[in-house]
Symmetry: C2
Subunit: 206 residues, 2 copies
DNA sequence: AAATGGTTTAACCAAATGGTTAAATTAGAT
DNA sequence: ATCTAATTTAACCATTTGGTTAAACCATTT
């Protein structure tokens, strides 16, 4: 056993480096040599452990997708009422992507150039949003929220969470006149404000 | 004069081809040869007319940005009341990006890898969202909408418009189980529903 | 300590890629 | 018709890039 637990072994170093480079530059923009340099190893080791650029990229992409796809849905079961869940989902998700701000854009961008990637990945993951659909429909029946297509509500919540992060340069430059601190403050505020906004759009008061 | 008005001249053919290829594949993924093939011309002509890949890309990027940045703001002046404007802005913008669905993702993605591009482009364009800020603040004062940060409202509207289009593969596959017609119907519906959603989130009824 | 098998490296390779060049072609002016 | 200047093309070039290979290295077993 080489692995001393304290320092990463080669495979881990490669994955960490590949994540960094691929997520930052995309499949087409990434260079195998840059990944090797980032990992501090010889380029041949990339092929020794992962065969090809495409295969290594696949690892990174699946990791990224798995990290970001399911958390949303899981957060939606539990005993709390719908609005509390919504608040929790948004706060959790925004915190997660705030820590990995390049990943949503990476996934969207790579899927845009190669939507096929999604087909394979979904086979291995079986994502089921049916429970979320059901939860929304129940609220509509209970008349706690107004009639709305569940798909529409889900898309809205996702868009409100993801957009300010993937569009950071534009938002920061144009809306906040280049002030990164204002941008960050906005992100922080959205952890509560997005749910607040959505709830005030759908809640039926009586 | 070579130009017969009916058929595009070489420069135009190049730009059209470059738009298609760059917007589809991004700067890093695009190939000069592919652009030449798409335009039906010799690769040397790309350099003859536009010097380098970077310069040709700059043309395309500025065109894309100019097409998509300002329309939003312009639609916001006029005599109509705030909610009518909002409805019009959303419908207009969604129609525009529906016809060019790859452009928003293209801009976001390229700015993500090189935010510096935005700095130059803003010099040539001077985008001023101040009027929109003001319009929102006035509505708040008039108590037609609840107290909300203007930046927050703008970001929300943009996110609700842009997200379902840039995330098409995910939305279509996961939320609509692969049904493109359902996806398209959703987009169509959003031309009115997004404004409706936003208005119900901010309107003060009395 | 010698053998073994996994790991790592330097050197190398073929294909791809952005870009150049010089010749050929074309269109308009004289 | 001939000249001229812009346009277009094929051939070429240097560099980059993903990938391979064979030798070196190193830890463990015997």
């Amino acid at each position: 056993m080489v692995n001393k637990m304290t320092e990463k072994n080669t495979e881990e170093k490669i994955i960490a480096a590949a994540e960094k480079v691929f997520i930052e530059k995309g499949l087409a923009g990434a260079r195998m040599q840059e990944i090797a340099d980032e990992a501090g190893i010889n380029k041949s080791l990339l092929h020794y452990y992962y065969r090809s650029k495409e295969l290594l990229f696949g690892m990174v992409f699946r990791f990224a997708f798995k990290t970001f796809a399911p958390d949303l849905l899981k957060a939606f079961d539990g005993p709390d009422d719908f609005f509390t869940k919504l608040e929790r989902v948004v706060a959790t998700y925004l915190t997660l992507i705030e820590k990995n701000p390049h990943i949503p854009g990476f996934i969207i961008s790579e899927l845009s150039t190669n939507p096929n990637r999604l087909v394979e990945i979904i086979k291995l993951m079986n994502i089921d949003i049916q429970p979320v659909f059901k939860a929304i429909e129940e609220e509509i029946e209970k008349k706690t929220i107004r009639k709305i297509e569940p798909s529409e509500l889900i898309i809205n919540v996702l868009g409100l969470c993801v957009f300010p992060i993937i569009a950071k340069p534009m938002v920061e430059t144009i809306i906040f006149k280049g002030s990164e601190s204002d941008y960050k403050a906005m992100l922080e505020k959205r952890k509560t404000e997005v749910a607040h906004f959505v709830i005030s759009a759908i809640k039926i008061k009586d």
